[in-house]
């Protein structure tokens, strides 16, 4: 779980204009995406699964080599 820049945020007991500009300025959707990648695309398990996927893809692909680099 990613925890970023949390302790410095002031708590509020009511809605006030002081809240403007005081939020945690981070996009939770983007953070989630990176969190998932961080936890899954690493280590032996992740590499093994990637290799499996690639092998599986190789079997499926036909001999149509028209792509370029």
């Amino acid at each position: 779980m990613i925890i970023i820049r949390s302790s410095k945020i002031k708590k509020f007991s009511e809605i006030t204009d002081e809240m403007i500009g005081a939020a945690d300025g981070i996009c939770s959707c983007a953070s989630t995406v990176s969190n998932i990648i961080n936890s899954q695309n690493k280590g032996k398990e992740g590499k093994t699964s990637l290799k499996k996927k690639l092998n599986s893809l190789k079997k499926k692909f036909t001999n149509n080599n028209s792509c370029r680099q």
Partner: protein, 406 residues
């Protein structure tokens, strides 16, 4: 003593309000009914004032009540941080059909909730369905969509996942796929789809998190990879990034889309979407291109919304072109609050607005110029940068292995 008005979801008040808002949204983008908009905002304000206790207190402190407010501009706008501190729901939360986290909430101890009942879900679906059709998929019924986001089954608390699942079912073909899976970013699915599109000539849509796309584009450039996607392929990004993983201005982003993917600039559509605002704000570029209209790029303000840019210190509306904080009024926000004061920095254009970043309060300091060039608003983290870069290190190898077998 006058009878107390019933503001429950089952009440005539809410049912009629939902019906009228939905009808207003369905009148589409040419609707110029200012008076109708104003009346609906005041009815919505009455509901939210009387059902959301923290909001009522806030309004009372400002001296604005439904009896006093004469137009939408007088309705107090709630700072977006309030969604993290309080339950901002105009209905009994046990009737919520949707619940996900607020934008900018990475601290699990402070996660706010966006709550919508069924009527509110209908409103958001109607609004964003109409906009997505017009600004992203106007010239195609359905197409293959690759989503740079997890599925809602995997990440039910993420607004982007929930919203893009609707896009997938409404505009995608059956082979559409999520790129973020329980096993991480599926690089090979992405590369394979790009190669397949090149070979088949069938256009492809890439939709999702800005940061993922930028890293992918940068990784491709590092590895010397490029594709020529069929004409009509498009990329629709949202969520922004912080610009800490290398400079990428808006112009550079479009250049990368063209150079790496072969996607023309008018098929690059940036979207501003945040949990606290139901309606998404889309770039006008594809719609303009299809109309043959030559106009600057900006975010379109739909008729059921208003967007103002206000001064950071005194919160007074600024002239067009001046940088300040974005404030949105959205009729589709019936289940929360109509008016939201965001921390997003932007400026008004002649016919819309643009976002350039997010403001973090520093006494006496605003360095908007520093962040003005970033694409889609710079609201990503340094950590995110590191993590995504790491996952894409192997992209060249993956590509070469896939290509070799084809």
């Amino acid at each position: 003593m006058p009878e107390k008005t019933d503001y429950s979801l089952e009440s005539d008040f809410v049912k009629e309000l939902d019906r009228d808002i939905l009808e207003f949204i369905r009148r589409g983008m040419e609707n110029q009914d200012e008076d109708g908009f104003n009346k609906l905002t005041l009815r919505e304000f009455e509901l939210q004032y009387n059902t959301i206790e923290p909001y009522k207190k806030y309004c009372d402190k400002k001296g604005i009540t439904p009896d006093i407010a004469g137009n939408w501009m007088q309705i107090p706008a709630v700072p977006s941080l309030a969604f993290k501190e309080f339950v901002m729901a105009s209905f009994s939360v046990d009737k919520a059909e949707q619940a996900y986290f607020t934008s900018g909430t990475t601290d699990p101890r402070r996660k706010g909730s966006i709550l919508r009942d069924k009527g509110a879900v209908d409103l958001i679906n109607a609004a964003n369905g109409l906009l997505t059709r017009k600004y992203v998929f106007q010239n195609v019924e359905r197409m293959k969509i690759l989503l740079m986001t997890p599925s809602p089954q995997m990440a039910p608390g993420i607004g982007m996942a929930v919203g893009l699942d609707r896009v997938r079912t409404e505009f995608g073909t059956p082979e559409s796929a999520y790129l973020i899976t329980p096993r991480g970013l599926n690089v090979e699915v992405l590369l394979k789809a790009l190669l397949d599109a090149e070979n088949s000539g069938k256009p492809l849509a890439l939709v999702g998190s800005t940061v993922g796309f930028i890293y992918f584009l940068q990784a491709c450039e590092t590895e010397g990879l490029s594709f020529k996607l069929p004409h009509g392929s498009r990329i629709c990004d949202g969520g922004g990034y912080l610009g800490q993983f290398g400079e990428c201005s808006r112009e550079e982003y479009f250049e990368k889309c063209s150079r790496v993917l072969g996607i023309e600039e008018y098929y690059c559509i940036n979207v501003l979407g945040m949990g606290e605002i139901s309606t998404n704000f889309f770039d006008n570029v594809l719609d303009n291109h299809l109309k043959g209209k030559d106009e600057e790029r900006y975010k379109v303000i739909p008729p059921w919304t208003r967007t103002e840019v206000v001064d950071i210190t005194n919160r007074i509306r600024l002239p067009k072109g001046e940088v300040g904080l974005l404030r949105h009024y959205d009729l589709a926000n019936r289940s929360m609050v109509l008016a939201v004061q965001t921390d997003n920095l932007g400026f008004e254009t002649d016919y819309g607005f643009e976002i350039i970043g997010r403001w973090k309060k520093k006494p006496g300091k605003l360095d908007a110029e520093e962040i003005k060039a970033g694409h889609g608003g710079k609201i990503m983290t340094q950590l995110g940068n590191f993590l995504l870069r790491r996952s894409l290190k192997k992209i060249g190898n993956v590509y070469r292995k896939i290509a070799k077998e084809r």
